[in-house]
Amino acid sequence: MNALVHGALYGVVIVLCLLTTVAFGVWFERKFAGRMQSRLGPTRVGPYGLLQSFADIIKLLQKEDIIPADADGSLFTLAPVLAALCALGAAAVVPFSPTVIASDLDIGVVWVLAVGGLMVIPTFAAGWSSNNKFALLGGMRAVAQSVSYGVPLVLAVLVPVILSGTMRISGIVAWQTSHHWVAVWPVIPGLPAFGLYMLAMLAESNRIPFDIPEAESELVAGVTTEYTGAKFSLFYLSEYVHTLVGSAVASALFLGGWDGPFAPGLHWMALKTLTLFALVYWVRWSLLRFRSDQLMDLCWRRLTPLGVALVLASAAWVQFAPGAH
């Protein structure tokens, strides 16, 4: 019963925090991208346009809900809800501080990979149920892409697990607190593994240069082509949440999570997460997009062997490096 209350309480708090962060994150991204492009970004709603995201949400909720006549209606409606569920659900095991954690599962890392990886199902369901060629192509691309990049993602995540010897995310952070951040030391599996994770995370959350599934210049809007209003906003939201949670996991696994001097752990975790989040958007607005086959080639021919090599390297480190234990 205690666990139930704990889960519900922390669930509500963490989910609300994530959603608020996403709302302001979107504002920040638009402002940042605007300045990159010699524009002003949002300026009208609230001071400096800060409330722009909330206005957008209200606007989207008011929009007419359209389910195409040829679509598979129930699946069409269910898919966005599932997408939001998968994106948010991965945050259950992320430790924001030694105490702020909804569920300190002993297989936390696997939970993140499994729940986050489930995103493919709603994405495909959305693409297929729309009965639209662009949506279907987008859905198939999305599934192929997330499935492929799941492999380097898992391999990258294995590195901190091997180094720390636990799958509990709070355990990994604690190990980094007492040893080194994974991305810092040992440099060789650590730093490349961090990079690999970020790349795979970009691909899993469909961000440029890997935004093949919703490549709007080719596939109009990918899986969300037929979506309007609230359902579209759910997809939009889940993408951002996916990126945010991915950044949080990255800072927990590779950057020492709450570890840092002078300030409370929560602040450090927030700082690292938001920095990575901003980095994702900086990359996003600077790069062009890969083609789907190049994406696959990159994954299978380059990143997968790199990941395997990193896993072997960290195994060797644990085995042979003096003082690794």
Binding site: F32, G34, R35, Q37, S38, R39, L40, W282, S286
Partner: protein
């Protein structure tokens, strides 16, 4: 590795742009300066007597490629102000919704009566608002910043030899209403200072070489 370094370079470029001042402005609050020759909506100019300078010669109606000008010319009558006899346009309607802002009507107006306005036209809620009648056009001429181009000015610019760096802005010369006395027939409108700009024959191999079947338009060219 190429991807990596190139990505860093691209990110450096975008970051550099973050610290540049943005190009866009918050429009209704800040308005970018408009060019002196900016052409947007239209106005009918009053002459020095407070009457419309338009004499209803129909030249603009004839030249308009999209046929948005409708002028109702009236026969000559005595001006209530000066007492002289002159021609008037009883009505002048310009449908802005189909106008292509080509400036030809301004160019052909020998009285400098119709000019363009530098303030961009305001969007309208219905089509009727975009149909400018005599009243609106004359109000524009009094209330709004009038553009630089006038018929006589444009004609002078094309025919004389202005210096490059000299202000090409022609003086908005006061209209001599008396000068144009017989406006009813547009074909008979006299070209004002009628100086046939002699073609400077360039030695260049201009592609506009004379076609073998040269028409009699050269006669028309020398006509004035």
């Amino acid at each position: 590795m190429g991807y990596f370094t190139d990505t860093l370079r691209a990110m450096r470029t975008t970051l550099r742009n973050v610290f540049r001042p943005p190009t866009t402005v918050e429009f209704p609050d800040v308005v970018r300066p408009r060019a002196e020759r900016f052409r947007a909506s239209f106005a009918l100019i009053d002459d020095e007597n407070g009457e419309s300078a338009c004499v209803g010669c129909l030249t603009c109606e004839k030249i308009c490629p999209s046929q948005v000008i409708k002028v109702k010319a009236s026969p000559k009558r005595e001006s209530p102000v000066t007492g002289k006899k002159r021609a008037y346009a009883d009505d002048f309607v310009l449908d802005l919704s189909a106008c292509i802002q080509c400036e030809l009507c301004v160019q052909v107006c020998n009285n400098d009566a119709i000019v363009m306005v530098r303030e961009p036209e305001q969007p309208a809620f219905n089509r009727e608002d975009l149909v400018l009648g005599m009243e609106k056009l004359r109000a524009n001429g009094r209330g709004k910043t009038v553009a630089w181009g006038r018929g006589t000015g444009l004609q002078e610019m094309q025919e004389s030899k202005p210096k490059v760096e000299k202000p090409a802005k022609p003086k908005p010369a006061p209209v001599e209403a008396a000068k144009v006395e017989t406006p009813a027939e547009p074909a008979k409108v006299e070209a004002a200072p009628a100086e046939p700009a002699k073609v400077e024959s360039a030695p260049a191999a201009a592609p506009a070489e004379a076609a073998p079947e040269k028409s009699d338009c050269s006669a028309a060219e020398e006509a004035p």
